[in-house]
Amino acid sequence: MSRLKWLGAGALAVSLTAWGAAGTAIARGQESQTNAAAKGDPTTHMTPAEIESGKLNFQGSCGECHGVDASGGVGPNLHGVVQKRGPQGVFDIIRNGLPGTAMAPVSSLNDKRAWQVVAYLKTLKAAPGSMTAEGDPAKGKELYASNGCAMCHEIDGKGGAVGPPLTGIGSMRSPKYLEEVLIDPAKNPPPDPALPDRRMWTGYVLTKVVTKDGKMFVGSRVNEDTFTITLRDMAGNYRTFDKSKLRSVDKEFGKSFMPSFSHLSESQRNDLVAYLMTLKGAQ
């Protein structure tokens, strides 16, 4: 706790737990694969020039979140995504976005270009083993319980709301990412699904505000504009402040409510990651 310089120990006398990435809504995938079979797959007869155009479009419209080479960034790694969700499934996500995540409909791509992007992504196969974890999921589930992860994270409707819900985390993130987060939770924070994150703000930013009459509040920022800021406290309650009535607003970028789990053994972390990778959401 000492790394959180201004967080009162009393306010955070809660066991802190694992976090991963945003997003649970993945039900669309199965339906989409059915559609693909019915409609045919435009990516099957695309020329190399069209696929190249898809690559360039991907870099321009998607690379900002998913990495210029689609290896992931704020958004997940997309290598193997077409094999997993089907061409129509990926196309539908480009068109409609993924509700509950920061993935918004991509209006800058028309249908033709969106299909070219799908064709390009189809050429990116998942690296062997990149989406499978080495550990024992059963042991990982026990570790999840014994470390109090559920106090902050929700799985299938059960658990806390301080950190991101983990119901579909195994579909959203790679084991490598989860391993990194367990060691350094603040390194690559995911967007907060609680906020309409159109501007891709840093998610789960620890924030302390002090009112002009000296009252201090600490929480995770869930919304902010020029005049107001909304925090969510450890109990999941929201508080909105008029900034003109605040003495100070301190945002601790690079810090997280979640403690590091570097004290677990590597094999324990592998078990925990293996368990998290079994959480595939509503599919």
Binding site: N57, E64, V74, R199, F227, K251
Partner: protein, 544 residues
């Protein structure tokens, strides 16, 4: 030149009650006095006045009472898309556009629709750049002039919305598009073109306001080896084009001079094949309105490789420099420098950064940038400030003759610039990356900071700063009520004290505002307007 003087403003700002709403012809003299006496309630041209100052002499809404501002009416637009339109108002009738190219006439007191016009657009429309939009119309005589997304100029009957004539400005199949508002001057309609991402060869055109006949056309990039500027492009690379003219310029009636900015050279982020200064891209052009001949040019970013178009509105004003009144033109450039030039000669007077920049040590005595090393885009991405979207982009700044300040929505973010292999072909635009030979990754969220910034208009020195949360894309409006209006990215429309920057009023409209605010009056009652999301919001004070 009265509209540029400071002194006259103080004498003039009196509301003249208009008769009831009626479509009346707009004369060139009316446009010369837009947003000023004797009819300050009219906003007749995109930039508020021909000097593009976006300053209104209206002062019924002022620093004392702005806190009582309330919604007067809301117009829900049809269709989808980003609203970037600035409404024009003539004698109680408002003309506003919806994306991609629809014009709507409204009763400016009630928001009730009078007519609308949507052009027939080709089914295989080539969309260049980010998204189809339209920034507004021009008015002259009994006509409304519209630039369309398929690069046509349309003349409508202002009473009925009926199409009088329509001419092609450029071939949309070659990658041209028009999103900016036309500029109406005496008997002529001045129209630019967009399409820089597709390597469109930029030009500016003047059309006869009555007939639509093309009067002249000025190309901004050479078209042959013996044309001026061709020697600033190696190996005939001028043939790739660039230098588009997609935003609206300004006009000085005293010298009959049009001022218009030009966009990036093509291909954009990869300059290896086009060594040299690449004239007349990323420049301000001063143009004889009768002949279309260039009087002078000033290039802000020679051999540009970061998408820093110089398309920002050139703002004209007169002010003392070293004790002498000078005719000036100021431009807050996408490259993050604020420039002041002598508008009669093009001579450089001032140039200072107004937003965070890491690409230049400064400017030399002629205003040419002294570049830092290692600023070129790379295949991996090279972090340079400002970002692709620039220290400012298309959103308009404003100038108040009352305060002598220049107000701009400034962005202090960088981008990782990526160099790709250019694939230039007519009409070939693959998003930001691709045809243009690269692109970039933006800073987002908390890293992407915008502020309303007040600069001393002559020296560029920062006088005050109002920092916002998020990446705001709203222009700025100044009024004789000593107010500055703008908005943040989160949907807050607000008023600031023009002298101090103090926030006096705000309202959350629920969606980002992506257009320039404007103000007008009907029957002596002042309104302020801007668009949020899909709706046009209009505000006024409670009636006494």
């Amino acid at each position: 030149m009265r509209i540029f003087g400071r002194m006259a403003i103080a004498l003039a700002a009196v509301l003249i009650p208009a008769a009831c709403m009626a479509q009346t012809p707009v004369t060139f003299q009316d446009i010369e006095h837009s947003a000023a006496a004797p009819n300050p309630g009219n906003w007749l041209t995109y930039g508020g006045n021909l000097a593009a100052q976006r300053f209104s002499e209206l002062k019924q809404i002022n620093t004392d009472n702005v806190k009582s501002l309330k919604v007067a009416w809301v117009f829900q637009m049809g269709g989808r898309g980003v609203i970037e339109s600035v409404p024009l108002v003539n004698n109680g009738i408002m003309y506003v556009t919806e994306p991609p190219s629809t014009v709507v006439a409204l009763d400016a007191r009630t928001g009730k629709e009078l007519w609308q016009y949507t052009p027939q657009l080709p089914r295989d429309l080539v969309v260049i750049g980010l998204f189809p939009t339209n920034r507004g119309v021009a008015l002259l005589g009994n006509n409304v002039y519209l630039n369309t997304i398929d690069a046509h100029l349309v003349c409508l009957d202002a009473k009925t919305g009926r199409e009088k004539w329509k001419v092609e400005v450029a071939d949309n199949k070659q990658g041209f598009a028009d999103t900016g508002a036309p500029l109406a001057i005496n008997g002529k309609i001045i129209v630019g073109v967009g399409g820089g991402e597709a390597g469109a060869h930029g030009f500016l055109s003047a059309f006869d306001a009555n007939t639509g006949k093309l009067l002249w056309r000025l190309f901004t990039v050479p078209r042959a080896a013996d044309e001026p500027g061709a020697d600033t492009w190696t190996n005939g690379s001028w043939s790739n084009g660039g230098g588009t003219t997609w935003n609206t310029g300004s006009y000085d009636p005293a010298t009959n001079t049009i001022y218009w900015g030009t966009g990036n050279p093509a291909p954009d982020w990869n300059g290896k094949g086009r060594l040299g200064d690449n004239l007349f891209t990323c420049s301000l052009l001063a143009i004889d309105a009768n002949t279309g001949k260039m009087k002078w040019y000033f290039q802000f970013s020679p051999h540009e490789t970061h998408d820093w178009d110089s398309s920002e509105p050139p703002v004209l004003f007169d002010a003392k420099v070293d004790g002498q009144i000078r005719h000036l033109v100021a431009l807050a450039n996408r490259n993050a420098f604020y420039y002041v030039l002598d508008r009669d000669t093009g001579k450089f007077i001032t140039g200072v950064p107004f937003a965070k920049q890491t690409w230049a040590k400064g400017l030399d005595r002629n205003g040419r940038p002294i570049e830092n090393p290692n600023i070129e885009p790379t295949p991996e991405g090279n972090l340079v400030y400002p970002s692709l979207t620039g220290g400012v982009n298309w959103t308009s700044p404003c100038y108040s003759p009352l305060t002598g300040l220049f107000y701009v929505n400034a962005r202090d973010a960088g981008a990782w610039y990526i160099q790709g292999e250019p694939k230039m072909a007519p009409g070939n635009s693959v998003g930001v990356v691709g045809g243009g030979g690269g692109g970039g990754r933006f800073m987002v969220g908390d890293q992407d900071v915008t502020s309303i910034r007040a600069l001393d208009a002559v020296t560029g020195k920062r006088v005050w700063n109002f920092e916002m949360v998020g990446d705001s894309w709203t222009g700025v409006l100044a009024t004789a009520g000593n107010l500055v209006f703008s908005a943040d990215a989160e949907g807050n429309f607000f008023a600031l004290n023009a002298t101090t920057g103090e926030n006096l009023w705000h309202i959350n409209l629920g969606a980002a505002l992506r257009s320039n605010p404007m103000t007008y009056a009907v029957d002596g009652h002042q309104y302020v307007a801007d668009s949020s999301g899909n709706s046009l919001f209009v505000f006024d004070l409670p009636q006494q």
